[in-house]
Symmetry: C2
Subunit: 405 residues, 2 copies
């Protein structure tokens, strides 16, 4: 009999708790697994030996269903980068102490490409020190920028919210008789997956978004203004989707850098709004979808939530099969009917890597997304959750904040 | 046999098209009503004789159901203020020409308190010139600031979206181990109804929003900072809801003024974010719910949408009963079980007036909402729509933009 540990890391999504349910439920079935510990605030909880016995917290199937419609990370999160163990072993010793003390045989880390760095380093350390603790990564990110996997858990729900909201903003934008430009800023620092996914509206006969700018294409203000003028000659209300991460000449970037060395970007929508106002002079507004695009679980994609649970469960089977240093991935078998299988890949090949939009998804003018991309995006946003409501508002599963302190 | 005309005006909501359906469906039942004309871009369409035969546009019950889940104004909108007819009669003559030419016996105007000014002036003009054309106002506004009516169509859906999103933002905010403040800016220039409605989360056991600031209470930066510091001593992640319209000392207001003499306000959330960063120094972010709070029909309140349809239908019966210059209103019979009746009131008593939060809804410190207010708000956000989806996205009913040009 062994115990296991699970933790959540990185930016919130609508699907991280579904993957936690996947790990939890699959572990319950396994006679060889006894206690299931949840680490508070990602790897930080293991370093500080701050763990919760999940069996005393998640008591019923109803609890699990609520978790699946609860956004963000119920166990808290962190942005903690492990040092190389050859250079600084102290934190690795603390982690080992906690895991040994709690008799943990497998650790599941649900997170983005930075968290997969932790999976890679920890599994290498355990191999090198002869410790039999399996470390498995369960991917998540609304950015969809992980290598090898067809797509990432959390992306489908974010894409469904962003496309739906873009459609509603389109209805909102077209009401007045004067021409207008609406610029919608979508998350994505280096990869334009989420911004590009708004093109699914074209499959429903919408002409919006009329322009889509992603970081994969070098941005030119001159081309942007030419594009907007051209669309204004065709449409009364021009809708533009733009990734937060496109680079503009005189630097909107704040210059802040996070723990992983990422530039912290914001404000591109506001910047382009000012450009349109000054250069074209028409009615213009910008809208930042902000954290709503990663936490609006009331509009989760059923496909995404179910897959996120499945990939968590698959992670448990992978560890029980004796594997370690692996990240679970989706492989797409076909677009129509949409079929995926779950496999695993070497964490070292996923950690700290980014996957960008393929060229065939971007039109030749570099200002929109091709119809070919829709076959990729559409299956990921299908289906809705049967939400449990309370007083007219979706019910969530939450741990009391005093437990998480 | 007479024809009728209907138009939509003011800022979009999720319920204006439901009221249009109410007018349309009730008129179909009436043998005395022949053509049903939709005026494009509110009263502007009547001035310019730009009308659509709605029977050739809304063909089936399915079309009507789609309209009820389509946000914004399917016929376009305007912000046009009629002059006093004693001072400038020309535009009244144009309106009369269109209505006479099209044999229109009743005109239904779906809009906010500015549009009720149009209802009042037009009906007075027709009475004074001896024209037998009934003019009836159907209220709508997410601001809920119309007098006499218990609440306004469109408010319940906006409140449901804002409260749900506030709850999801709360989950998103609590994930990291460091203290943080999240400021959510909600629409409302002079009245704090929508901001106050976020207190419904307290009925679900949420401690958030921990602070709620509405324009009805004189805002003090010193008190705000004291409040935030106090909440930070109790909660790791402090959530603040703030009306866009609260007045701060050194004027965040842009100074722009719309056609109705309203100040155009924005940016209070960003302003307070800077204040917290500079004065308290903790992690802080601000979120503007922007137009999403008025157009997110994917999370419409069923109560709101059904009531909005009913009040449109009641407007038709009111006109057929020979009344004019009336605005349809809700009267609340009881909170539990929630019961309302539909009545009408003198447009002159509603036009250009605003209704503010009653004192009993605001706590004594002026920084939160009382539990007493919840009995008022909760019934308005109950129930969800059975959305018709297409490719994973809610389907809308839209008129081709070439028709609306």
């Amino acid at each position: 009999m062994m115990n296991i540990a699970v933790a959540q890391s990185g930016g919130p999504t609508c699907a991280i708790n579904a993957s936690l349910v996947g790990v939890f439920k699959e572990s319950l079935k396994e006679a060889s697994i006894d206690a299931i510990f949840g680490s508070v605030n990602g790897i930080e909880g293991i370093i500080q030996n701050h763990m919760i016995n999940l069996k005393s917290m998640i008591l019923t199937n109803d609890d699990m269903e609520l978790l699946k419609q609860t956004p963000s990370t119920v166990l808290g999160s962190c942005r903690y980068k492990l040092p190389d163990w050859q250079e600084d072993e102290e934190v690795y010793r603390k982690i080992t102490d906690t895991l040994k003390q709690r008799n943990i045989g497998a650790f599941f880390y649900i997170g983005g490409n930075d968290s997969m760095d932790t999976v890679n380093k920890l599994s290498e350390y355990f191999k090198n020190t002869g410790l039999d603790i399996k470390v498995i990564g369960i991917p998540k990110t609304i950015d969809n920028d992980l290598c090898i996997t067809d797509h990432t858990p959390g992306f489908g729900s974010a894409a469904k919210y962003v496309a739906t909201t873009m459609k509603e903003i389109t209805r909102d934008s077209i009401v007045y008789s004067i021409p207008s430009v609406t610029i919608v800023e979508v998350m994505g620092r280096h990869a334009g997956w989420l911004t590009a996914s708004t093109a699914v509206l074209h499959a429903m006969g919408e002409t919006a978004p009329h322009l889509i700018y992603v970081p994969e294409v070098k941005f030119s203000l001159d081309n942007f203004l030419r594009d907007v003028r051209q669309e204004l000659s065709k449409h009364k209300a021009v809708i533009v989707a733009v990734s937060e991460g496109i680079e503009v000449p005189d630097g909107v970037q704040s210059g802040l850098v996070d723990n992983f060395g990422h530039k912290y970007l914001s404000g591109i929508g506001k910047y382009l709004e000012d450009v349109v106002r000054n250069e074209i002079g028409c009615k213009v507004r910008s809208i930042e979808l902000n954290v709503m695009q990663r936490c609006s679980s009331h509009l989760g994609s059923r496909t995404d939530i179910e897959e996120s649970e499945s990939i968590g469960a698959a992670g448990v089977r992978c560890a029980l099969n004796g594997q370690t240093g692996r990240v679970m991935v989706f492989r797409r078998i076909s677009d129509m009917p949409y079929t995926v299988s779950i496999d695993s890949a070497d964490a070292g090949k996923i950690a700290n890597q980014e996957k960008f939009l393929p060229k065939k998804f971007i039109n030749s003018a570099g200002n929109n997304i091709t119809d070919q991309a829709l076959e990729y995006f559409l299956p990921l946003i299908q289906g809705e959750l049967n939400l449990v409501m309370e007083h007219g508002i979706p019910k969530h599963f939450a741990i009391h904040e005093s437990v998480l302190k």
